[in-house]
Symmetry: C2
Subunit: 421 residues, 2 copies
């Protein structure tokens, strides 16, 4: 039983959106980094030295951040009083343009990946910048850390400032080179990442869709985010009813695994396209509130309609990489939404935790829960700095999401290996 | 010039709601803990050893938390999916009832005051429990730490569980004893704190109002918080048009300094009562969102109407004692409100910072800004863990509020004295 380990603690994970599995003072049995089951007792003769006793701490799955801009790490928490397009032009494009410098990319992406790990995000879907070499650097850093990740070179060939723009042909060519070279290594996979419809010509989108289909590559973009961007998109693509159609008819929505950030304003026919099991909509509560887009995703409605939902930090319009905080914000903001638009209830802890773990992790190979056969990608939560008696494990989980921070995460495991920060 | 000190750093404070004063690389000159002015250079011969050089760090006023329940410190971040009255009965009243035990009060209030200081809250208006002795303990702890504070024994003689209720006469008697013994010591002052109209008989309210007038004691309560509580209050006090009238006609609204938490649902005549310069309304954004009250304070509207506004953490329905986070939440939640009710704009950093510092501190003697004659109650913010070049001090302040935490506060001063955590 040498390659078996048993992790003792109060275990919590999502079964489905409505069910949190809680196994207090139990052992997660792990063989070569893969969960074998959760047990109250171990078989007789199980080697004492293979037991990792986390005492009264909580053990939960690692978080999944399904929409984040690595290249905006430096601008978090600034310019928050601006509107989306102003904010992009004033802060974001100049910040991203700096990633032409490889040394800058190494430094900032290194800090970004460190911060992901510190916050307990073990699975991540992240934008780079338009720069090929910087995107390579990000891919390699994610790989080195052992994270489960999608990332790719950003595409944008129009409606962007002079200093931060590609020509269509070289954008397509370098994307194809990136995919061929970095299709999948370890648990990191190349993705196709058009910024959003406004900044991509139809020629570019069509070319990217062709690559997605040819290589079976996942797609990551923004959709139905703000009244202003929806309007601009409609003017640029008058032959399509909406942004979803632009993506769909260019083979970028559901033909391969597709992750669309925001999805705030969706008509019924867009909802129908997103009900494809290949698609996922990512709610980024803090980002959406900070850079006023005119609405909040109707999370409860989309959950009830069976759309795959996840949580994203969306740095830099989001300010914190903590997905635990993203869980609390998802619940809070859905409550505020409900106060003004009572037709959809607020979401609860079970639903938001599901989005942040099991549901968010669905494109990565068996992560985000502790079912048999899942990778043991886990966080140990020590909340002994909070006094309190006779609390349930669920109350402690809720308190960690609302009031805790990275200091409460005392261990991170990926495929059973300790991840050191 | 022995009793002079000069604190060098990037100084920021509020002039008024629309004006943030920023003095980069400047000296705050302080005599015996009182600000004398802010200067680019010091007079010749100023003793080198009296200069405290904070380098590139920010120096800002200490925060004011104008509505918080010290007795709910243990329950933060739990039961957040419940409605207000359910949450009070399930979590709050049992938690508060434990403060009958003096040892428990010493321990938990000690932790509470430590956490206030850690989060940079130097001025606080806090509820205790109904217990006389626990309220003494809280008063003494605030005094020992040198905080500027209002606190008092909580009153409630009806509509509360059997185990957490006073009789009217003893409630009034012990409140008067508390006020006589603890009227003002150092910078801590006794307040009169009826919980809310629902839990107070008219006899109790009238008696408290009489005490307030007799001793010139400030009043602290909740008002216009939730649809459910407004309705219940209307049934209990059918002779009054609304909660504000109940307080007003019992001498508990504006006759002495008055601090009312929440003020979400106010009719025009209530707004008019609150326009009294003696009154302050406290916005508790996280608390209001967590324990769904049915609305969000229309902050911009009330600011424009000239009502004194402050920010409160409102632990335990709020989960974090950080008022920096309260600033970010105030802005975020006002943006979400604006998305659904566009008639009032969102508030900006200047307005929210003003609420959290200068405006929040108005009842305490000259705190919350660095005008000449103000107490040097200040925080030093070291944000060197955030990389970034060529940022303005205001961008750094904004980033601290959105993305920083207590680790960025490297020094706290009260009346010029270092406060050690």
């Amino acid at each position: 039983m040498d390659n078996y380990k048993a992790y003792l603690g109060n275990v919590i994970y999502s079964q489905d959106k409505d069910t949190l599995v809680v196994k207090e003072k139990s052992y997660i049995l792990v063989q070569d980094g893969i969960v074998q089951g959760i047990f109250k007792d171990l078989p007789e003769g199980f080697p004492q030295e293979n037991i990792i006793d986390w005492g009264n701490n909580l053990i939960i799955p690692g978080f999944s951040d399904m929409h984040v801009h690595a290249s905006q790490f430096l601008q978090r928490g600034m310019g928050m009083d601006k509107k989306l397009l102003d904010w992009l032009n004033t802060y974001t494009y100049p910040t991203e343009a700096k990633f032409q410098d490889k040394e800058h990319a190494k430094k900032i992406y290194g800090l970004f990946v460190d911060e992901l790990v510190r916050q307990g995000t073990l699975h991540v879907n992240c934008f780079s910048s338009i720069h090929y070499e910087a995107s390579e650097i990000l891919f390699e850093l994610l790989l080195e850390r052992g994270l489960f990740a999608f990332t790719g070179k950003l595409n944008m060939d129009q409606n962007s400032p002079e200093f931060y723009l590609e020509d269509t042909e070289s954008s397509l060519r370098s994307t194809e080179v990136f995919i061929s070279n970095y299709r999948q290594k370890g648990n990191v996979q190349a993705a196709i990442v058009p910024r959003f419809t406004i900044t991509c010509s139809e020629e570019l989108l069509a070319g990217l869709g062709k690559l997605a289909q040819q290589y079976g590559t996942p797609v990551h973009s923004h959709m139905c985010e703000a009244i202003s961007t929806i309007k601009a998109s409609k003017e640029l693509f008058p032959n399509y009813k909406n942004e979803a159609e632009v993506f769909y008819h260019n083979n970028l929505l559901g033909q391969t695994p597709t992750i669309m950030a925001h999805c705030i304003f969706m008509d019924d026919d867009v909802v129908q396209l997103m009900q494809n099991p290949n698609c996922m909509a990512v709610h980024c509560p803090d980002a959406t509130a900070n850079i006023n887009a005119g609405g909040i995703m109707p999370v409860k409605k989309l959950l009830e309609m069976g759309i795959n939902l996840a949580i994203g930090s969306d740095i830099g319009s989001g300010a914190s990489l903590s997905i635990a905080r993203g869980i609390a914000s998802t619940i809070q903001h859905s409550k505020i939404r409900n106060m003004f638009d009572p037709q959809w209830e607020a979401v609860n802890l079970s639903e938001a935790f599901y989005m942040a773990t099991r549901s968010g992790g669905r494109y990565f190979n068996k992560v985000g829960a502790f079912d048999k056969g899942y990778h043991f990608n886990a966080l140990v939560i020590d909340d002994s700095n909070f006094p309190g008696e006779n609390l349930t494990s669920l109350e402690r989980l809720e308190r960690f999401c609302y009031a805790g921070d990275d200091r409460n995460i005392v261990m991170r495991y990926i495929v059973g290996k300790e991840l050191i920060i």
